[in-house]
Amino acid sequence: MVLTALCSGWPARGYGGMLSDTWSRFDRVASIFDPVGTYVSQPIEKTIPALTFKGFFRQWSDINLHRNQKVGFRNKDFRFLQLQNLLEIELHYQFTDNLELTNINHFLYDGVYNWQDSGGLFAPRFSETARHYHNFERIVRELNLSYRTHSFDIVIGKQQIAWGKMDGRFIDMINPMDVRESVQLEASDFEYRRLPTWMANATYFFGAHSLQLLYIPNFEQERLPTVGSPWFPPSVPPLDAIVKKRKRPSAGDFGDHEYGARLDISMDPLTWGLIYFYAWNDNPTFFITGADRSDGTVTPILTPRHTRLHHLGVTADYATAFSGVPLVGDLPVVVRIEGLYSFGVKFADARRQLAALAGGDSGGQASRDTLRAAIALEFALPGNTSFIVQPSLFTTFGWRKSIVSSGFGGATASNEWNLLPVVFVEHPFRFTRDRLRASITVFPFLGAPGRHYEGTKSKLVVSYKFSRFITGRLIYTTYDGGGRDSTFGQYDKWDNIGWEVSYEF
């Protein structure tokens, strides 16, 4: 891809050369290569004018750069971290100007379990979804009917909602995620990794403002990396406990439903909003509900249960420009702020765990409030270069040393707070007519008072637009520093290089 990018700049300098002529011919053909658009989408849309037919095919592959070895509690005997192929078909049928039916379907196959010889990858034994989407729930991602008037929208059906203005998940928590890539899940993948749920979504627009109300009878839990999948954490030891069946909220019980509200206010040059979400924790809490002493040892009996959470959030952005900045002259900047305060999050507490094993009724958990928040400063540098600094804070209020787990919105285990001062730079290259772009993102992960440094993730991305329809990306990701059981540090042997090719039609 890099060679391709360089070639794309070549003709401007080497007009008439054999290489540039060959490249030029290829480039012209590639620029109009759209077989699905030509032979499928356009004929369908001509036959059924009210129907919009579109989609994409995307191939993601990541290769681990380290030799096979034992890492933590895992036998890392695989090199491909993903060989995913995803076909999306998106359909919109317009019944009237106001009424529209939307259907989005995903067909996914990940070749890592079949295309390499590995004993450490066995996730399909527990969940076939890790290998391919095979059921209605995963294939039919969105199916909803929308009705709109000037000042009112209502969407009923399976859908996904993205709240917030920032990269990362701060107030974006209406839908759970499929977090199969664990720490390598990026904001750009949220669209495909959110798990849509059945809900009613109504928005009233008044002036430049809006009020959105959500009613969600259908609960979905977050999907963490399955045991035996490439990104299952190597720091997690085999579970020495008896785990009972997870109790999940019921769609048939009104008391189990979720409710949300979002208010957006536009007051130039500031826009801001407030959110409230009465929700379930998408990840179950493992309550100690007993102990098995049958063989002379004490084996905890765990009952996974989702707990109720109240979330209050705020989001805002503001734009301005600084004049007379050395080297760059005028410096336009946007400031974005986002924060989510969550009440009553459950954390495993060592003292209470002992009490629970002795027959106490706390379940081994303590309730704490948490805050996750970020401020992003985005600078527009010359040459369409973006520079973003985004410190993100995760805090557990009322933290104490006996807290031994992380919890929604709070700090990691053993820490009261974590700070991620993320830095991002992106630049398009004009000599390729902006077809080539490069970006680098650095995620240092700090904390206190326990683990002060949880490692740094760094990502270099080079993307190239082969045409209006085809985009390729090369991605190099490293995980450095931190301890063997820290968030990034445990993936020290997961440095990888990947490519993505996407064809949209």
Partner: protein
């Protein structure tokens, strides 16, 4: 703008000496196209001295001089000291500065509320084609026309909101942007607010205010070329007059274009039918040309700190002051960008100020990067108060509600059918126009003029 095949007459005449080209390109990297060679171009293209169409100010007749006011210093407006004291749209005779303000009436977008289906695209020197289609809705906040911006809009407040909704290619479907343009002056400097909705992120995000000299992604244009054109930022000077016969040029490989009539009907038109100022224009010359004033605009340092420009040269239709050709010269003084346009009368109620641009071709000369933009399907709108507050706010974009007229069919289907680079006509006002082309660009220009289409 009828397609002028006169360039075919240069076939066989405009032949660069390849040895000369090689030697020059090898030694200095650029080829300064000399007057002798361009004389050949001119002769081949029918611009012989006998048919010379341009005149310097010194060559204007007494009658022509009566229509212009050559003063460079005129009384100032009491409220806005950077504006002329005489109120827009002025009366003849016109100073060059007043012509600049009249030209400002015809920015990239018409100065009234409307919606457009646009077809746009770019082509690289290797022939790689990008195209896109958008539905653009404009909410012009003050009274229609430039006077609404100049006199009815307080500096620091918005005068135009533009909602642009992507419909093609598929990756841009539902991607949207909302531009808010502000009336500026020496105290209120913020020109734009920009919000972007990216469907892949499902988020509306405010963007940093634009840097005027930065390029629109994957196009030949800078934001400065299409979003912000304030006449008070320049010193204006009349260079002379000219008659234009072509601006936008179609290749020999493209005989027709599908354009929408004002009633929304799509009609395939022979490219030879199309005229520079449209059908309703009353002032074509006997041989179908458009008489123009040629004016120079030099950035004022107090307004344009560190401008990337040394000057602009406009060809303004003498009837309406519509800019049919705009050339930008870089800091070193040489030509770096050309914009050519055609126009049509869209809002007859505004009289001669009711013209709007129809087809644009942009050429980034140094990078030899070409772009086009067709403002095709058109609907006049008088947005209600409810429309203004509902449609032209950032959160509206989340609704994915397409407002515009039908999608344009006027896109370029293949590289071979792309518009020609604008003619250079280096003999015109040669003292003011320094044209230096890199050798490979000059070779491509020559090849284009020889065969009548882009050569890669």
């Amino acid at each position: 703008m009828s397609f002028d095949r006169s360039h075919q007459g240069s076939r066989g005449k405009l032949q660069l000496d390849s040895a000369l080209t090689t030697r020059w390109s090898g030694s200095v990297g650029v080829l300064v196209l000399g007057a002798v060679m361009w004389g050949q171009v001119l002769l081949g293209a029918g611009w012989a001295e006998a048919e010379r169409t341009w005149k310097s100010v010194q060559e204007l007749s007494a009658e022509e001089l009566r229509a212009v006011d050559l003063r460079t210093e005129t009384p100032r407006d009491a409220t806005f000291p950077y504006l002329p004291a005489e109120r827009y749209p002025f009366s003849p005779p016109y100073t060059a500065e007043e012509m600049g303000y009249r030209a400002m009436e015809f920015s990239h977008f018409a100065r009234w509320s409307h919606a457009l289906g646009t077809a746009a695209g770019s082509i690289t020197p290797s022939g790689h084609l990008f195209t896109e289609n958008n539905l653009d809705s404009f909410c012009y906040l003050p009274t229609e026309g430039l006077s609404g911006q100049l006199y009815d809009t307080a500096p620091g407040t918005p005068y135009l909101k533009l909602l642009s909704q992507g419909v093609f290619p598929p990756e841009r479907y539902s991607n949207q942007s909302l531009f808010v343009l502000y009336r500026t002056d020496d105290k209120a400097m913020g020109e734009t607010d920009l919000f972007v909705y990216t469907h892949a992120l499902r988020r509306v995000r405010r963007q940093p205010p634009i840097r005027r000299q930065d390029y629109y992604a994957r196009t030949a244009m800078r934001f400065d070329d299409i979003l912000v054109q304030n006449a008070w930022e320049y010193v204006w000077k009349l260079l002379g007059t000219d008659i234009l016969f072509t601006t936008v040029r179609f290749p020999v490989t493209r005989q027709t274009i599908t354009l929408a009539d004002l009633d929304g009907t799509f009609r395939e038109r022979a490219v030879t039918e199309l005229k520079l100022m449209g059908e309703a224009y009353p002032a074509y010359t006997a041989d179908g040309g458009v008489a123009c004033y040629v004016v120079e605009a030099v950035p004022r340092p107090e307004w344009r700190r560190a401008s990337h420009l040394s000057r602009l040269i406009y060809w303004l239709d003498r009837q309406t002051f519509f800019p049919l050709r705009i050339e930008s010269y870089g800091r070193q003084g040489s030509l770096m960008f050309v914009e050519v346009r055609t126009a049509r009368l869209l809002n007859p109620q505004l009289g001669e100020r009711g013209y709007a641009a129809h087809i644009f071709v942009f050429w980034d000369v140094e990078r030899d990067f070409l772009s086009y933009d067709v403002h095709d399907t058109y609907q006049y709108h008088s947005w209600s108060a409810l429309d203004k507050t509902v449609f032209f706010t950032p959160d509206f974009m989340r609704r994915r509600w397409f407002l515009g007229p039908p999608r344009s069919q006027a896109g370029v289907p293949s590289a071979a059918e792309f518009y020609l680079r604008p003619a250079l006509d280096p003999g015109k006002f040669s003292h003011e126009r320094m044209i230096r082309l890199p050798a490979e660009v000059a070779a491509r220009v020559e090849a284009q003029e020889t065969v009548g289409h882009l050569v890669f």
